[in-house]
Symmetry: C2
Subunit: 335 residues, 2 copies
């Protein structure tokens, strides 16, 4: 069965990745409708050897559409998802607009595919840094129950969009050439050759001192895993990496699990690839995950500071599994 | 009282910083003897407006020297410290050679100055990532006792020496120019626009899966704080930053302490500067700590995952407070 698909935000970093994945996975497409702001309307995008014209997103954009993939920010999702639903489409929304709504499933297909059928027109795609973490945590939680997670992230600038990649490259070049006075438009501080403990870069901190990105990792982890007893604290940090989020994840479990058992569990877990060969200096690297589908896990070891603890290093392509791929996996399950 | 000082490893990253700090702090110098390998012997180094000739390090290099500052790696320290002691010098050693020896004090002057007089010719300077962490933790430990620390680091390449800085810059330029086939000499993987969960880059992992850098943070923290009940787990990560180590530090305390109390405590703590103004997007940044003496702390907040927990972000100049400055502070206390 072929379906009509709309992509909202077709010209963005995630929009482009949607197209690349739809093509490579031979998604059963009938019509493909590319939607974006009026500014991008009229642009041509090549897909499967054919030019597609980007159309301006309006409330009438969704006629005949079966699945609408949204990735144009929370404001656009809030405004246009109701029109898509009214037209009979199911929205798979990559923004944070509806993620914590009680009647909206928040889904990582490897973790909670059973939540997909509960939707009322919207299925939310989780935050990138949460997706890759829960894919690796789920098999461990099922085996020995996770009590607490302490995570620190090393997040690529592509999480802030194509303009952020451009700003990092230009600032890096400016510093290497010894020039001064580089004009930043996006990041509040130098990002090249620096690390920023604030994500997103534009938003205010919350009253409890956490950023919204950090609270996403707390709340979304509980909702996706379907277990509000899992305690999470997170520190999310932007690093001068183009693509691929890395995470230093410490977990405390109810029952003891050895590092060897974690490796064995994760080696057969869906969507996970273990790269953990210290003798040969092999561990997951952001530089080697771009364009890859899997969540990579390494540096798996028993935490020496507590009885039932595991430390590990989780890396994935934030634009692919962290956004576009996860949404398309949801769409595939919907069909 | 003026003293005769020798610097072993005078041409390295830390050696150069020793000179800059001795000059700026108006250290009471009589003779300054610059020592290095035969390869660097004969080089001229400008200090206080005068040229000094670098001499080749030999077992006879320490005659008349009162304090020898060693920063040329563990092998050199092990071989030459005995000669320095024989000549009547006290060695302040920046390498890991003697740090965990029972009869060698491991000192951060803000934390355990009382250990200095216990020396038998050698005082060890701790690992850079440990120094900055314990300066911030000590006031909290004194107030409410720290049970456990979970730390993830974001460490600058300068911790691996001047050649590492050069390699990062060249690799970054190569990537920005779209060239392929960059030849790395030092790092086992791409470091520009990437993060590596392995420090040091050249050494094997330990049987427990930790790196030696990670175990330094565990063992040295306990020794410096004089409390082996403090449990520590660490994940140490190299990031493409030239100078300045950042750390995401999570602590669990025996007694409850609020974020406001931590801020108040640290605001008057020796060697600490609190930069914690989220409303104005102000927090410690590696890019702003180069050449500064303080340990900077921000993002101080109560950990929502446990009853008695604090998350914070600790940044310091790894070459300065993390190495050269701390050693010179020890030398000053010795006098």
């Amino acid at each position: 069965m072929s379906v009509n698909i709309a992509i909202v935000g077709a010209t963005g970093a995630v929009g482009k990745e949607f197209l690349s994945i739809l093509e490579s996975r031979k998604f059963p497409l009938n019509e493909l409708r590319l939607l974006a702001s009026g500014r991008s309307a009229g642009k041509k995008i090549l897909f499967c050897g054919k030019d597609y014209i980007v159309q301006e997103l309006t409330k009438n954009s969704f006629k005949g559409i079966k699945i609408a993939l949204f990735s144009a920010g929370a404001d656009i999702s809030k405004e246009y998802a109701p029109y898509a639903i009214e037209s009979g489409a199911v929205c798979v929304d990559n923004s944070s607009a509806f993620r914590m709504d009680d009647d909206v499933p928040l889904v990582v297909p490897e973790v909670n595919p059973y939540d997909i059928p509960k939707h009322h027109g919207i299925i939310a795609n989780p935050n990138c840094s949460t997706i890759q973490m829960v894919v690796a945590l789920k098999p461990i939680h099922d085996a020995v129950k996770i009590k607490r997670v302490v995570v620190s992230t090393y997040q690529a600038v592509s999480g802030a969009g194509l303009k952020a990649i451009d700003e990092l490259k230009k600032e890096a070049m400016s510093i290497l050439e010894g020039k001064e006075g580089f004009q930043r438009k996006l990041f509040p501080h130098q990002i090249a050759f620096n690390v920023l403990p604030q994500i997103p870069q534009s938003k205010a901190f919350l009253p409890n001192g956490y950023t919204s990105e950090e609270m996403k990792m707390v709340n979304e982890t509980q909702k996706i895993m379907g277990d509000h007893s899992i305690r999470v604290t997170a520190t999310t940090v932007r690093v001068p990496v183009i693509r691929g989020h890395s995470e230093s994840v410490n977990i405390e479990t109810v029952k003891k699990i050895t590092a060897a058992e974690v490796k064995r569990l994760l080696s057969t877990a869906p969507g996970v690839k273990v790269i953990d060969d210290p003798a040969n200096q092999l561990y997951p690297l952001a530089s080697e995950t771009a364009g890859r589908d899997e969540v990579f896990v390494g540096r798996i070891r028993e935490d020496i500071s507590i009885d039932n603890g595991i430390d590990m290093w989780i890396v994935s392509d934030n634009i692919r599994k962290g956004a576009a791929l996860n949404a398309i996996q949801i769409a595939e399950k919907l069909l």
